[in-house]
C-alpha cells in the first residue's frame, strides 16, 4: 500500500476517531461528509471506547495474498454500547472458544507487514477480555 494511503487514515487507525451527527446523533466510523440518516453535514469527533461485544466472527483459513502467511486467523464484527459496529481481527485467543456475545478489548496492533512498498500498517485488533 502506498504510504500516503496509510497516513491518510491515521485519525481512524491510530486514534480511533469516529463522528456523531450533530443533527440526529447517528454515529459513524469512519466519519462521513453527510449523514446517511438525516442529511446533516455537521459532525463532532469522538474517540471509540476501549470495549465492545462480538456480534459475529469467522476464522479465515484461505486468505488474500497479503495475509496468507497469517492464516488461520479470526476476524469479527463487534458492537459498542452506543450501537456502532466495526470489523477487526480477534487475536490472542483460542479461535475454537470464540462466541457471539463475548466482550473484547481494543488494542493497537500491527495489521499488515507485507505491503507493496514495505510500509507497516497499524490499527486496532480485538482481544477477548478473559486474557
Amino acid at each position: 500500500m502506498f504510504p500516503a494511503r496509510i497516513w491518510r487514515e491515521f485519525p481512524q487507525r491510530y486514534r480511533r476517531e469516529a463522528a456523531i451527527c450533530k443533527k440526529c446523533g447517528k454515529r459513524y466510523f469512519p466519519p462521513r461528509l453527510i449523514c446517511a440518516e438525516c442529511g446533516g453535514r455537521k459532525f463532532e469527533t469522538y474517540v471509540l471506547p476501549d470495549e465492545a461485544t462480538v456480534v459475529t466472527f469467522t476464522v479465515i483459513r484461505v486468505a488474500a495474498q497479503q495475509y496468507s502467511d497469517m492464516a488461520p486467523y479470526a476476524i469479527g464484527i463487534v458492537k459498542f454500547d452506543d450501537g456502532l459496529q466495526m470489523m477487526g481481527q480477534i487475536v490472542d485467543c483460542d479461535v475454537d472458544k470464540l462466541k457471539i456475545g463475548m466482550k473484547v478489548r481494543l488494542e493497537f496492533r500491527k495489521v499488515q507487514s507485507h505491503d507493496h512498498h514495505g510500509v507497516l500498517s497499524y490499527a486496532h485488533k480485538f482481544v477477548p477480555k478473559w486474557y
Binding site: P30, F57, R61, V62, I77
Partner: protein, 385 residues
C-alpha cells in the same frame, strides 16, 4: 417506454479454460447470442466485467470486445458493479432499448479468473468490499458470508446439515446442465466433510473460481416478432444498493438491496412472489441463496434454509431455485454470472432446458444478481408472450 424482449442467448462451457483468452471467451459467447437471435448486427454492446484489470490486466473492455466480435465502431462500454456487473449490463441494455436509444443491444458478461493464483483471485474478489475498513483487516468474501451464516444459524437454530441442502440441490441441478463447470451430483455429507474456508463455511458452501462468458440480445417486441423467435418479454427490472460494509448494517442477515430491487421489479411487472414459476438467484455462498429467497418474499425470514432442506426449492419443488446449478455448480465467472442467469431463465421459458431440467409450465421467471456482501442487488422478471 417500448416493450423489450430477449431474442438471443449465448452461453459456452464454463470452467478452467486454460486454452482460451479473455477476449476469446467473450467472443465465443457473443457470437452464440448473435447466431441464436439471427441478427446480422448489433447497435450497442454493454459488457459486465468485475475486474479485467486485476485478473488479466485488461481494462477498456467495451472497445476490445466490440472489435473482436466483428462489430467495430458500434457503441460499446463496460459496466461494473462487482459480482452484479452482468445483471447491471442487462438492466442498462433493457433501458437502452426501452428508451428508444438503440434497437438491438447485446448485454454480455465475462471474467477470466484463472490467469492469477488462488490468493490473487481472493484479493481481486475482495475489492468488492470496503478496502479501508473491511479488507484492510484481512477479511475475504467467504469470511463476510461466514459471518452472516454464523448469525443466521445461531438465531434461527439452523443445523450444518440443513445448510448443506443448498449446495446439494445446486449440484443435483447442475449435473443436468452441460455448460456447468462442475456438472455432477455431490453427497450431502460431502459439504460438511470438505475443508473449511471460513468457519462455518466449507469449500462446497462456496462458488468456485471460473472462466466464462455469456451474452444475450435485447430488442423491441416489434422487431422480435419479425425475427420469428420465441418472445421472452422483460416485464420488470429493479436495482438497489446498501452500505458496502457489512458491519454498517443494523440487520446483517437481511439483504435490503435485494428486497428493494425485488419490490421495484414486482411493481413494474405487476407480479407477486407467488406468480414466479422459477428463479435464478445469486448463491455465491450457500447461505446467500437462503437470504435472497427470503428478501424476495418467497420464504419468511429465517425459513430459507429449512425450505431448501425440505425440498421446496428443488427442480420438482414448489419454487425451483437455480435450475442451472447456480453459481455453485454452474460456476461463477463474476461479471458473466448475471447474464448466465438470464440465459437459463430464457431457456426455461422457451421450454428448451437440457437433460430433463425443464420446469413444466414455466411462464414467468426471475433473476437476482448481487454484488459484494449485498451492497448491490439487481432483479429482473421475464414472461413468455
Amino acid at each position: 417506454m417500448r416493450d423489450v424482449a430477449v431474442v438471443g442467448i449465448g452461453i459456452m462451457k464454463w470452467g478452467e479454460l486454460w486454452e482460451k483468452s479473455f477476449r476469446d471467451i467473450f467472443t465465443e459467447a457473443g457470437l452464440n447470442a448473435i447466431d441464436d437471435a439471427g441478427v446480422d448486427h448489433i447497435d450497442s454492446l454493454l459488457v459486465g466485467c468485475m475486474s479485467g484489470g486485476l485478473f488479466v490486466g485488461q481494462e477498456h473492455i467495451g472497445a476490445i470486445m466490440a472489435d473482436y466480435l466483428g462489430q467495430k465502431h458500434i457503441a460499446a462500454g463496460r459496466v461494473e458493479s462487482a459480482c452484479a456487473s452482468g445483471g447491471l449490463a442487462f438492466r442498462q441494455a433493457f433501458i437502452e432499448v426501452a428508451s428508444g436509444m438503440s434497437d438491438i443491444v447485446m448485454a454480455g458478461g465475462v471474467e477470466k479468473m484463472t490467469d492469477v493464483s488462488g490468493d490473487g483471485a481472493t484479493y481481486a474478489l475482495a475489492t468488492a468490499a470496503d478496502q479501508e475498513y473491511e479488507v484492510f483487516n484481512g477479511v475475504t468474501f467467504p469470511g463476510l458470508y461466514a459471518m452472516m451464516a454464523r448469525i443466521y444459524m445461531q438465531k434461527y437454530k439452523v443445523t450444518r446439515r440443513e445448510l448443506s441442502a443448498i449446495p446439494f440441490k445446486s449440484h443435483q441441478n447442475g449435473a443436468k446442465n452441460p455448460y456447468a463447470q462442475y456438472p455432477f451430483p455431490i453427497k450431502i455429507e460431502d459439504v460438511e466433510n470438505g475443508v473449511l474456508v471460513a468457519d462455518p463455511l466449507h469449500i462446497l458452501d462456496c462458488s468456485p473460481i471460473t472462466d466464462g462468458g455469456a451474452a444475450v440480445i435485447l430488442t423491441t417486441v416489434d422487431i422480435a416478432k419479425k425475427l420469428k423467435k420465441p418472445i421472452i418479454k422483460v416485464i420488470g427490472s429493479g436495482l438497489a444498493t446498501d452500505t458496502i460494509s457489512l458491519h454498517q448494517r443494523d440487520n446483517m442477515i437481511w439483504l435490503k438491496s435485494t428486497e428493494l430491487a425485488g419490490k421495484k421489479a414486482y411493481e413494474m411487472a405487476g407480479k407477486k412472489p407467488e406468480d414466479i414459476d422459477l428463479v435464478e438467484v445469486h448463491d455465491c455462498f450457500s447461505i446467500a441463496e437462503a437470504l435472497v429467497t427470503e428478501a424476495l418474499g418467497f420464504f419468511k425470514p429465517g425459513t430459507g434454509v429449512k425450505a431448501a432442506a425440505e425440498g421446496l426449492t428443488a427442480l420438482n419443488g414448489k419454487l425451483p431455485v437455480n435450475t442451472s446449478g447456480g453459481l455453485k455448480s454452474k460456476g461463477h465467472p463474476v461479471g458473466a454470472t448475471g447474464i448466465g442467469q438470464v440465459v437459463e431463465i430464457v431457456k426455461q421459458l422457451r421450454g428448451t432446458a437440457e437433460n430433463g431440467r425443464q420446469v413444466k409450465k414455466a411462464r414467468v421467471g426471475m433473476t437476482q444478481n448481487m454484488g459484494g456482501s449485498g451492497a448491490s442487488g439487481v432483479v429482473h422478471i421475464m414472461e413468455v408472450v
